[in-house]
């Protein structure tokens, strides 16, 4: 069984990679890459040559191109000792046009162009744009010189996949951080050093806290292994998709916290998320200087609400539980009273849900809910449990119909099975036949779908979340597509693919546990 499972997992991984690859090919080669700036306010602030350079910088940041400005090239020559600082100063400034270059500049511009062109880069020289005949540049009109090269898709995919999981290391950050190493403590200084709370902290690592406890589920957390699904461009600029999905939302959650400096105050800062940012202490403002003692100053804030994933999961899981709790007895009832009133009512309901577009009945529920005085939108500022009611019902009722339909079908198939007739011929009571023969056999295919429906809630419900303004994960993909946020599209695709692969495998495992005929093992045992 283990062998089979391992091979299934490996095949699942392969298919995930293929899916991600296909999506990458689609969006990075078929979509116009200028579209990512469609909703970027910074982009429209830049003018003329500066806009071109901004584009290049952003494209490099998001992995489209390898971008080398002339200044970087010169800086590198200095640091490698090839040229001296005066030579650098003489050559760094180049003219508005190639003809206007100083001899020193012309020499290095030639070397830059020839060198990078030989490596397959495209060298671009944007001429300076001046106001009329004056020497004053237009806004962003300075001359620019840079080389760029498209990153091949395969290496993009490779970079993406290898960058998915990062393991922290005490040599991860550069610069002088003092003695690198790990510290084990039983009394986490974040709690004032008095409360018993073991933690592992690192110096030289990206994260300060590698393992710690806090008061949020699942209470034990780690930062040693981090997942990065890809950076968002427009939806949540610069933030990784993983964080976009998992970080808490809503109002700030203020508690008394002890900063590394020993300063205790009310704050929403989550000290445990501290990340190294080089030179941040020195350059930081007074608050930073007051609270921190080293460069691990970048912290996230704790918020009251759940994460996007969290909301989707809570709503989804309640609706899944509700759906099974309602659909199983109702489906059984329909099968037992086949062609009688309960069956007919159930069929009407199933047909209604199947035939009416989901948007229509979700709005119907919304209208009814509004009439009953239930909150129809998700207000994170003043959360009540009542606001979950309508989204949960809207999600549960269609899946109830679907489950009922299949359970009824499976049950009726089983009730007509020969072994049910034989059990009846053996004089077993109808209730006994029902329990040990019909229900057990009919439930097997239903069980197969359980992992898919449980894990599927992580994906979120697009329409429902939109109608009730739930800050869930369901809207992420549609928003990303609307805003041409390719990083998010790839990240979310990967997440969806993993969820589906895992749920299919889990479904098969569950089924093999329920059904003795299905075995993952080879013949021997």
């Amino acid at each position: 069984m283990t062998k089979y499972l391992v091979s299934r997992v490996l095949r699942g991984l392969l298919s995930v990679i293929i899916v991600v690859g296909v999506v990458m090919v689609l969006i990075y080669s078929c979509l116009d890459r200028n579209l990512i700036f469609a909703n970027d306010p910074v982009f429209s602030k830049h003018k003329s040559n500066a806009q071109e350079v901004y584009k290049m910088q952003q494209w490099e940041y998001y992995g489209y191109v390898d971008y080398v400005p002339y200044a970087d090239f010169m800086q590198q020559l200095v640091s490698s000792g090839e040229i001296t600082q005066p030579e650098f100063d003489a050559a760094i400034k180049f003219g508005n046009r190639a003809q206007q270059d100083s001899p020193a500049a012309a020499e290095y511009v030639r070397r830059f162009s020839e060198g990078y062109e030989a490596e397959g880069y495209t060298v671009v020289r944007l001429e300076g744009k001046t106001r009329g005949n004056t020497n004053k540049y237009l806004d962003g009109g300075e001359p620019r010189l840079y080389a760029y090269r498209d990153v091949p898709l395969l290496s993009r995919l490779w970079n993406y996949l290898t960058g998915l999981i990062r393991v922290d290391n005490i040599h991860a950050v550069q610069g002088d951080v003092g003695k690198r190493g790990l510290t084990f403590t039983l009394y986490d200084p974040a709690y004032g050093g008095e409360k018993f709370s073991p933690a592992i902290m690192g110096n030289g690592t990206v994260h300060k806290y590698l393992l710690y406890f806090d008061d949020r589920f699942p209470y034990l957390h780690q930062n040693l292994v981090t997942i990065s699904l890809g950076k968002s461009y427009s939806v949540n600029k610069g933030i990784d998709v993983y964080h976009t999905m998992t970080d808490s939302q809503g109002a700030r959650d203020m508690t008394m916290i002890t900063y590394p400096s020993g300063n205790v105050e009310m704050s929403a800062d989550d000290i445990h998320t501290a990340v190294y940012v080089a030179g941040s202490l020195a350059e930081g403002d007074a608050v930073v200087k007051r609270n921190f003692v080293d460069d691990y100053t970048s912290v996230t804030t704790r918020k009251m609400g759940l994460s996007k994933l969290g909301y989707s999961f809570v709503i989804g899981i309640i609706s899944v539980l509700l759906a099974y709790a309602l659909a199983i007895p109702l489906g059984i009832l329909m099968a037992l009273k086949k062609d009688k009133l309960p069956d007919k009512l159930g069929t009407v309901y199933i047909v209604f849900v199947m035939a009416v577009p989901s948007l229509a009945y979700i709005f119907l529920f919304k209208a009814i809910g509004e009439h009953l005085g239930l909150p129809t939108t998700f207000d994170m500022e003043s959360p009540t449990w009542l606001m979950y009611v309508l989204p949960v019902i809207s999600l549960a009722l269609p899946s109830v119909a679907n489950l009922m339909k299949w359970l009824r079908r499976y049950m009726i198939d089983q009730m007509n099975a020969d072994y049910v007739k034989f059990a009846r011929a053996g004089g077993l009571s109808e209730s006994g036949i029902f329990r040990s023969h019909v229900l057990k056999n009919a439930i097997i295919p239903i069980v197969h779908g359980i992992p898919a429906s449980v894990l599927g809630v992580l994906v979120g419900a697009i329409i429902t979340e939109r109608v009730y303004v739930v800050p869930g994960a369901g809207n992420l993909l549609t928003r990303a597509i609307n805003f041409y946020d390719n990083g998010v599209i790839v990240g979310v695709t990967l997440f969806y693919a993993v969820v589906s692969v895992v749920s299919v495998i889990l479904g098969d495992v569950l089924m093999s546990i329920m059904d003795p005929r299905i075995s993952f093992t080879s013949k021997e045992g």
Binding site: G181, L182, L210, Q222, L224, V225, I513, K523, E524
Partner: protein, 390 residues
């Protein structure tokens, strides 16, 4: 009618054996395996036999003996893993060119056991019958196609107005007639009939068999008849091959096989057929075959002619005995097995212990799995932690 026979890849006639009979189909040392690598199983072992033009050759054996597999190998559905199949002396197994493959498909037609499962439920009888004609363009124009289809549908005892109906509107016997029409409209030379009457009522059986006989007499057809029941096979076959667990154990002319069954399996099979005569049936002795009576450790068995085209599977010593007995017109002494009653079924060597309550087992397994996953996580974390320090 055979205007469409263009340049045939196949010869008009097959090779002729020493008795002047034309060999239409010949299997030579055919092995068929299912599955791959270690889990593969040889379901047909070193099978060789010839089918002569115009005869009815029956292959008889239990379910799982490989008889259907052989039929499917001839129509190129199952590949042979060794040996070859020749049709009119031309190899038709393995890789063959497309022209030959089309000829084979056209010339060898199959009739299946379950008439309802082998007919497309969503197609009209007209479509089902003329599908092959379409595929091979065996008609000049639409009128010619209609004429052919109507002709064959009348031949099988249905009416032209049935052509617009769907298979589910017919009874089992009528469906088998449609299956027969579908095969016969192609004007095949060889028809493989895989248990064509097993699913039918006694009275319908006779009708279908008579129809098949009629086609054979009119068209000089050759039949390969696959069956598990010897009682009918005996009266419709010219020659019968008995197959046991992938081996052909005996081939002989029908009467010869019933009069002088040499192989113990053939005898057990004959004795198992109930006789529709209360007195004879009551006095009948049921013979149970036990393959353990053969000692094939030293001398490998093979299928050999013991005289008069009567082939028996056995080793040197057995074959010698069969030959002398056959010459004297006697039957071998019945060697009964120790465990004569029960089926010899392999008992799995390894039992999965006392299984106890399934629910508990499942719970235990789930807990174990959870603990395992947790352990792996902790382990990974520790490893990464170690890596982090390096």
């Amino acid at each position: 009618m055979k205007t469409e026979k263009k340049t045939s890849v196949l010869p008009e006639r097959g090779p002729v054996d020493e008795k002047g009979r034309e060999i239409l189909l010949s299997l030579k040392n055919v092995d068929i395996r299912f599955g791959k690598g270690n889990s593969s199983a040889k379901v047909v072992k070193n099978v060789s036999f010839d089918i002569y033009r115009g005869e009815t050759f029956s292959l008889v054996g239990e379910s799982g003996s490989g008889k259907t597999t052989i039929g499917r190998a001839i129509i190129r559905v199952n590949p042979c893993s060794a040996g070859e199949i020749q049709y009119k002396g031309v190899r038709i197994s393995g890789k063959i060119n497309q022209a030959l493959e089309r000829q084979v498909i056209r010339n060898i037609q199959m009739v299946f056991q379950d008439p309802s499962a082998s007919l497309n439920e969503r197609a009209t009888v007209d479509y089902i019958v003329s599908e092959g004609l379409h595929n091979f363009h065996l008609y000049k124009d639409e009128a010619d196609r209609v004429r052919k289809v109507e002709h064959i549908i009348e031949e099988v005892g249905l009416l032209p107005e049935h052509l617009t109906r769907y298979p589910h509107e017919f009874s089992g016997g009528q469906r088998q007639r449609i299956g027969l029409a579908r095969a016969m409209v192609m004007e095949p030379e060889l028809v493989i009939a895989d248990e064509p009457i097993s699913a039918l009522d006694v009275s319908i059986r006779a009708q279908v068999l008579n129809l098949m006989k009629k086609f054979q007499q009119e068209r000089g057809l050759t039949y390969l008849f696959i069956a598990h029941d010897l009682s009918i096979v005996r009266f419709i076959s010219d020659r019968i091959g008995v197959i046991y667990k992938g081996n052909i154990v005996e081939i002989a002319e029908a009467e010869e096989l019933f009069d002088f069954p040499m192989h113990p399996y053939t005898r057990s099979l004959i004795s198992a057929v109930p006789i529709p005569d209360p007195v004879l049936e009551r006095d009948k002795v049921l013979l149970t075959y036990d393959p353990a009576i053969h000692d094939y450790t030293a001398d490998q068995p093979r299928l050999e002619d013991i005289g008069g085209g009567h082939f028996v599977f056995g080793n040197e010593q057995e074959l010698a005995q069969y030959r002398t007995l056959r010459a004297k017109g006697e039957l071998p002494q019945w060697r009964s097995a120790e465990s004569a009653d029960a089926e010899n079924e392999e008992i799995p060597a390894k039992r999965t212990g006392r299984p106890g309550r399934r629910g508990w087992r499942m719970l235990r397994r789930a807990l174990l799995a959870l603990a395992g996953i947790l352990g792996v996580c902790v382990g990974l974390f520790l490893i990464f932690l170690l890596l982090a320090v390096i």
